[in-house]
Amino acid sequence: MKRLILTLLLVLGLAPICFAQNEFNATALRLGGSFGEQAEAVEKLGLSGDPRALPLLQALADGKLARMPDGALRIGDADALTGAPADATGASPVRINNRVRAALRSALGRLQIVSPDPAERLRAADGILRSRSAQDLPLLDAALARETVPRIRERLVLAQGAARLASDDEAMKRAGIESLGASGSEAARTVLLEARTGNAGLAEAIDAAVARIDRQLAFRRAGELLFQGLSLGSVLLLAALGLAVTFGVMGVINMAHGEFVMLGAYTTFLVQEALRGTFLAPWALPLAVPAAFLVTAVLGAALERGLIRHLYGRPLETLLMTFGVGMMLQQAVRLIFGAQNREVSSPAWMQGTLMLPGEISVTQNRLWIIVFGIAVLLLVMAAIRFTRFGLEMRAVVQNRRIAATMGIRTGRVDALTFAFGSGIAGMAGVALSQIDNVSPNLGTGYIVDSFMVVVFGGVGSLAGTLIGALTLGVFNKLLEPYTGVVLAKVAVLVGIMLFIQRRPKGLFALKGRAADQ
């Protein structure tokens, strides 16, 4: 027991509570008195917020508190107040009645606020918030001075504001309104609106505080929506970048693109399983990026050399054929890995949420995906612009026969370009494994959207793909609060079709092989 008290004191940094030693002892000793005295002492200790009171009251509630004939209190073989070993012969258990029990319940609930367990503190703060009594103010002030966990602090501030509002003092009430208004939370808004009926004189101040909260909430919501939109946009960007190369640059329509994304996600799963237990395990995700690129690039090269090559100049047949390939890949994965979702875990540095200024909370993994999407885009742009391979690729797209006469092996460039686009799809799969279910039909959900992005942004233009992806992502998320997820998607699809009416040439300005007609 002594150790427990000591740890408590250590944890709480010797609680800066102005509850003098003598007063504490005097109050505590009254726990052994009459029922009336007991109830009073319990209530007082409960409001004190003194960590030492917690074990005492707990012992009383459990019937473990005993009273010596001289009035001293014992818990087991120790002094109840100091925790020092002491003789307990002749001690009789302290009895309590229902009134004391009720007082104990509320006091213990309040005292959880000094518990070392954050979950218990949060529960206690919620309990105090519900009671909305000005009596709790000293307790809350003390707890706020100690508390470091943001979530609990938020609760405590709320409870403090509510308790201030419940006081009889006008200035105190105004302080409560002020602090609630500043907190900017939905719950504070509710508390304020509730208090409005009982405080006609303060209605103006309360309305101003509510309006302030509404502004904050609106700002935060807009910020979060924008972030969600960018996040969705970066996902679309990743999924569409590979298509922008195979479809946009080469003019080859690959309906199995979504399945390459799915294979990238499964490669991530396999890399994670292979490294499980080794020292490399925390780095499974970064290592999966090149692995996924290689797997899907090799598959892409095989697909191009083996099948697609024979269908150049026949886009509709290519579409059907690659759809069949996608179907086979999907079913093969389903037969090998099963239809259920596979678990890909996030490394620690990708978990949790980050608070941006203005209390806009963003999830870390989504933030990383945005960064990753931009990185892949820059990589692709650099590869096309600055490498030998990129130069040959552009040459073949512009004029195949001249390129061939210059000694470029066009067939090899075709295969490499297609492999490159497929590899990007695989890398997108690594990112998607973090936010979506890794299942055989992972890719199906993205294929239509990806084509929309490429078509919307302008076929053959990487910058267009970026703009298209971000625009679609943000629009989707901005519409969602009004229309719901599904209708937002439908609205965006309809919007694209109408947009194509206005800018058919701009968006379908084909360069390269598909521009034959």
């Binding site: 329509i253 099948l307 024979h310 269908l311 886009p315 509709l316 047949e317 290519t318 579409l319 059907l320 054929m321 759809f323 069949g324 390939v325 996608g326 179907m327 086979m328 890949l329 999907q330 079913q331 093969a332 389903r334 037969l335 239509v448 084509f451 929309m452 078509v455 719901g484 599904v486 209708l487 998607k489 439908v490 699809l493 309809v494 694209i496 079709m497 109408l498 194509i500 009416q501 058919p504 379908f508 598909a514 007609q517």
Partner: protein, 358 residues
């Protein structure tokens, strides 16, 4: 040259006659007394009836793709819309025999707390109105999408992707409960059509014969269209759209007409399909269904009409046979079929037969 073409034509006619005679067999053999060695089960009649509806869908795709070069990956949507129109009529026919016993509202509406029938359900209690809607709604949608697409000269794979997006969007929309179409459960538990209970042999035979007749009529209409001057123009558009445009033809109008006609045929197929299988749900809108139907046409041989019908029957027969003992393999086989058809059988089964004949 005329000799060869007439020979081909006769071969095709022979094939058509053979198919239609064979199609009359299931209901006839089903009518034989039980225990007769040649009697076929009710299941065979039901499945063949379903295939006939698929054949009409395939025919409609062939008309647009094989002749006008419009590869729609969203014909399943027209099929499903026709099915939903018929489904709405069948739901209204249930009357107060539903689980909740409401005299007007279908069960799912009672369950979702509807107070009255949504306006777009009005009129569906009348069979002719429902049939008309099964044709007009897909036709109107095709008209709208086609008008938007063709006037912007969206062709080839772009059109394919847009039609796929169309059926995908419709699927998402129909999955919603508040659309008033039963959400992801769709419509089922139908009772009767035109006063005949659906679970009787006579209803089954009647529906089968209706589908049979519809296939014959749509084939005749399609044949008439493609053999007319209009049909020649469609082929010209397919092979050199710009040239036809520069010759002064209104390509947009031609394509729009054939696209709408094709969508209405698909809607008719859907309307016949729903009472046969007894259920319609948003799964019918899934892009996979549409593209599978395209493969029936490709496998049979596109641009031949009869090839589409042949393809629908043969691929679905393969599917029914294979899924009965190795359902896991079906998607692998179907995927392989896509590859084989595009790489090795560009003219489909009909092409094979013709090569033999020549």
């Amino acid at each position: 040259m005329p000799g060869i073409s007439s020979l081909r034509f006769n071969l095709r006619l022979l094939l058509v006659a053979l198919i239609f005679v064979l199609l009359l067999l299931p209901p006839l053999l089903n009518a034989l007394p039980a225990g007769h060695p040649l009697r076929v089960s009710d299941f065979v009649v039901a499945v063949t009836g379903k295939w006939i509806c698929y054949a009409i869908l395939a025919l409609s795709i062939d008309l647009a793709w094989g002749y006008a070069g419009i590869l729609s990956l969203g014909h399943g949507a027209f099929f499903a819309l026709g099915g939903y129109a018929m489904g709405m009529h069948l739901m209204r026919n249930i009357g107060d025999r539903g689980v909740y016993g409401h005299p007007i509202l279908p069960d799912f509406m009672v369950f979702l707390g509807y107070k009255e029938l949504p306006w777009y359900w009005l009129g569906f209690e009348y069979f002719p109105f429902a049939m008309l809607m099964a044709l007009l709604v897909p036709g109107a949608l095709a008209g709208l999408v086609g008008w938007l697409a063709f006037r912007s000269r969206i062709t080839g794979v772009y059109l394919s992707i847009i039609t796929q997006a169309m059926t995908y969007a419709l699927m998402l929309a129909f999955f919603r409960n508040d659309m008033g179409f039963g959400g992801n459960n769709g419509f089922t538990d139908f009772k009767d059509l035109l006063g005949v209970p659906l679970n009787t042999p006579s209803a089954r035979t009647g529906l089968y014969l209706a589908a049979f007749g519809a296939l014959l009529i749509t084939l005749l209409i399609s044949a008439h269209v493609v053999q007319s001057k209009f049909g020649r123009l469609l082929i010209a558009i397919r092979d050199a759209e710009s040239r036809v445009r520069f010759l002064g033809y209104d390509v947009t109008a031609f394509k729009l007409f054939v696209f709408v006609l094709s969508a209405m045929m698909a809607g008719l197929a859907g309307a016949l399909y729903v009472p046969l299988v007894g259920i319609i749900n948003p799964g019918e809108f899934s892009p996979g269904n549409s593209i599978e139907a395209v493969v029936w046409v490709a496998f049979g041989g596109r641009g031949t009409l009869i090839g589409a019908i042949l393809g629908a029957f043969s691929v679905n027969a393969l599917k029914t046979w294979l899924t009965s003992f190795a359902p896991d393999l079906w998607l692998l086989v179907l995927g392989a079929l896509f590859i084989v058809v595009t790489l090795f059988l560009p003219r489909g089964l009909i092409g094979l037969i013709k090569r033999r004949g020549a």
